[in-house]
Amino acid sequence: MSTHYLTRNRFASRPSSRMLFIWLGFAAVLMLAPQILTSSLILSHLTQMGIGMVLALSYNVLLGQSGMLSFGHAAFSGLGAFASVHVMNLAGDGLLWLPLPLIPIAGALTGLGFAALIGYVITRTSGVTFAMITLGIGQMVYASSLMFPAFFGGEGGVSADRVYGDPWFEWDFGPQIQVYYLVAAWLFICVAAMFYMTRTPLGRLLNGVRDNEERIAFVGFNPHLLRYMALMISGLFAGIGGALMAINFEIATDEVLSLHESGAVLLFTFIGGTATFIGPMLGAIIGVLLTKFLPDYTAGWQMYLGLVFVLVVVYAPGGISSLIKPSLDVLRQTVSQRRYASFLGLVLSAFMLLAGTIILVELMYHRASGAAGSLPLFGVALDHHGPVPWVVGTVILLGGMLTIKPAGRLLFERLSIGESAHQGGKQ
C-alpha cells in the first residue's frame, strides 16, 4: 500500500485531465447548487457551509498539514470578522473605497497581521505546549473583547450594512443568493490557493515539520520558521472566513471569538478528516447539518452531535472522508460479486442501531420537556408514559449493537472469498 492517493504527489509536468475535471466539477457544483436546492433556508445553510469550508481548510493548514494543534483559531477568524465590519462601515460612510466583494481582503490582512504579530514568539514551541498557548491567546482575545467596546462593540457587537456603494454588475449583495455566490467565489479562490500551496516546496516542508520536525532541521530548514509561516498562512485564510461571516450576518459579536467557535472548527475538521483536502470540506458540511439543520427537527440535536463525535473518534479516527474510498470499494465489490444478502444484513443491522438510538433519544427529550402528549415520530405516536416505546427502542438498539459486528465480518468474509476467487487466488 503506498501513501494516500491524495497526498502522494504526482510529479507529472502538466496537470492531468482528471484534476481538471475535478476542478470544473467543483466549480459546477458551486454554481448549480442553489439552482437545484431552492428553498431560502437551504440557501442560508449552503452559504454557511461555504464559509465553514474556508474556516476548516484554513485550520487544516495547521492541523493536517503542519501537525500543529490549535485551540485559538477563532481569534484569527473573529478578528477578521471585526475588522471587516468596521471596514464595511467606513466604506459605507464613504471614508474608504473598498467594494463589498473585496472586503475579504481586509479580513485576510487582519488574520495575517495578527499571526505575524504573535506568531514568531508562540511558534518557538510545538506540540502540546503550542496548543495550550493558543488556548490562552484565544481566551485572552475573547476576554478582551468586552474590555474594548470601541472596537468590539461590547455585548451587542458591531453591525454593518453590506449594501453600500455602487452595485457590481447590478448586484448590490442584499439578497442571500448574491451573498452565496460571493462566498462561493471566495471559497473557490481559497481552495485553489491552498491546494496550490500544498504542491509547492513550502507545502512539502510543512508536511515534513509535521512528520519529523527534528529531521527537517537536519536537512537544512528551520522548523520554527516553518511553523511561523504555517500560522501566517492559516491566519490569512481564517481572516477571509471571518470576513465572509461578517458579510453574511452583517454583524460581529464576541461569540465569533469564543472557545466554542475554536472548538467547533477543530471538531468538524477532525470529523471530516485531516489527511486530505476533501476532509475539512466534508466536515464543514456535516457541521452545518448537525448544528444548523438538525435543531429544526429535534430538541436532542446536541446529543446526536456528541454521539457522532464520539463514534467518529472511536471508529473512524481518520475522519469520515477516510471511509469514502473503502465504502465505495465495498459497494463495488458487493455489486460485482452479487453479495446482496450479506450486504443487506449489514444495512439492516446499521438501520437498527440508528432507529433504536433515535427512538430512545427522542423519547428522553420528549419526557424531559414535560410534554403530556405522545411523541410523534415519523408518523407513529409514541406514548412516553408507558413502558412499551422504551422497551421497543431498547430492544431495537440492542439488536443493532449485537449484530453489527458479526454482520460486518460476514460481509467481508464473503467479499474476500469472492475477491480472491476472482483474482485467481492471488494472495
Binding site: 514551541t125 495550550m132 479516527p317
Partner: protein, 315 residues
C-alpha cells in the same frame, strides 16, 4: 487591611478548591498524556449526584458516596472508551473527552433539567465561623478549605508512602519500564483515571453548594483548570498547587480592584481626556481585565518556561 485579609482567605479557599479539581487532571495528564476535557464534567456530575443523594440520605452520606460513584463512572469511561482510542494518539483522546463532555452535559440536563438545582449547604455547616472586622467568614468556606487540605495530604501520603503510589509515580514518567517490571500498567491507568475523576467529583460535592449547581458550572471552570495544570507544570502536583493558589489570588484580588492605569496616572498628577487616543486602553480597570489574567499567566509562563512553573517532564 480588612479587604486584604478577607480577599486572602477567599483566594485561599478558591485556590484550594481549584487545586482539588486540578490534582486529578494533573495525574491523568502526566501519566496518560490525556488532556481530559471532560474533567470539569465529572466535577459537575459530583455536584448533581450529591444533590440527589443528600436529598434522600443526607449530606454526609452523599459526601462519601457521590465521589465514589463518580470514580466508578471514570473507571468505566477509561475501560470502555478511552482505551479504545488510545492507539490513535493524543488528539483523538482529547477529542474523545471533548465529545464526552458534550454527552455528559446533555445527560445531566436530561436528568436534572436545564436550570439550577437547589443544592444547599447542610445546616450544621451554615453560618459564619468568625467575623473579621465587618465581614463574616462562612463556616462552610472553612470546611471546604479543610477538606481540600486533607485531600492534598492524603494524596501526598498515598503517592509517596504506599506501593501503589510509587508505581503510579514511576508510571508518570516511564510507563513502559514499569510494565516490563511486571506491573499491570493498564490497570494502574484505569485506577488513576477513576481516582482523578473521583477527586473532581469530591470537588463538586463541596463546591456545588458553595457556588451554584447548574449545567453551566463545568464550562466555567473547565478552561481554568487547564491553565492550572499546564502553567503549574505537567507532572507536578506541587506545581498545580502553586498555580491554583496563584490564580486564586489573582482572580479574587483583581475582581475587587476598580483601579485602572488612568487612575494611577492621575494619582501622579497626569491625566487625559476621553478624546485622546489610547484612553480606552488606559481607562480599563483591573476588575475588567480580571477574566483575562489567568490566560495571560498561562501564555507568559509557557513562553518563558515551556515546561511550566515546576514541571519536571523532559520533552
Amino acid at each position: 487591611m480588612e479587604f486584604f485579609l478577607i480577599s486572602l482567605l477567599n483566594s485561599l479557599s478558591y485556590g484550594l478548591l481549584l487545586f482539588m479539581l486540578s490534582s486529578g487532571l494533573t495525574l491523568i495528564f502526566s501519566m496518560m498524556g490525556v488532556l481530559n476535557f471532560a474533567h470539569a464534567s465529572f466535577y459537575m456530575l459530583g455536584a448533581y449526584l450529591a444533590y440527589s443523594i443528600s436529598g434522600v440520605a443526607g449530606y454526609w452520606f452523599a459526601f462519601f458516596i457521590a465521589p465514589l460513584l463518580v470514580g466508578v463512572a471514570g473507571v468505566l469511561v477509561e475501560r470502555y472508551g478511552l482505551r479504545a482510542v488510545h492507539k490513535y494518539g493524543h488528539v483523538a483522546e482529547l477529542l474523545y473527552t471533548f465529545g464526552l463532555s458534550y454527552l455528559m452535559l446533555e445527560a445531566v440536563q436530561l436528568i436534572w433539567g436545564r436550570s439550577a438545582v437547589p443544592y444547599g449547604i447542610p445546616e450544621m455547616l451554615q453560618g459564619s465561623l468568625f467575623t473579621l472586622y465587618t465581614t463574616t467568614f462562612p463556616k462552610y468556606q472553612a470546611f471546604m478549605m479543610l477538606v481540600s487540605v486533607l485531600t492534598l495530604l492524603a494524596l501526598y501520603l498515598a503517592l509517596t508512602r504506599t506501593r501503589v503510589g510509587l508505581i503510579i509515580q514511576a508510571s508518570l514518567s516511564h510507563p513502559e519500564m514499569v510494565e516490563s517490571l511486571g506491573h499491570n500498567v493498564p490497570r494502574v491507568f484505569m485506577l488513576v483515571f477513576g481516582g482523578g475523576c473521583a477527586l473532581a467529583g469530591l470537588a463538586g460535592v463541596i463546591g456545588g453548594n458553595a457556588f451554584v449547581t447548574e449545567p453551566g458550572m463545568a464550562e466555567m471552570l473547565g478552561t481554568i483548570i487547564f491553565v492550572v495544570v499546564v502553567a503549574g507544570g505537567m507532572g507536578s502536583l506541587m506545581g498545580a498547587l502553586l498555580a491554583s493558589l496563584l490564580i486564586g489570588v489573582i482572580q479574587t484580588f483583581a475582581v475587587a480592584i476598580d483601579l485602572s492605569l488612568l487612575d494611577g496616572l492621575s494619582a501622579m498628577g497626569l491625566g487625559t481626556s476621553p478624546g485622546v487616543f489610547g484612553h480606552s486602553v488606559l481607562s480599563v480597570t483591573l476588575s475588567e481585565v480580571a477574566p483575562m489574567l489567568p490566560y495571560a499567566l498561562l501564555v507568559l509562563v509557557l513562553i518563558f518556561r515551556p515546561r511550566g512553573l515546576l514541571g519536571k517532564r523532559e520533552s
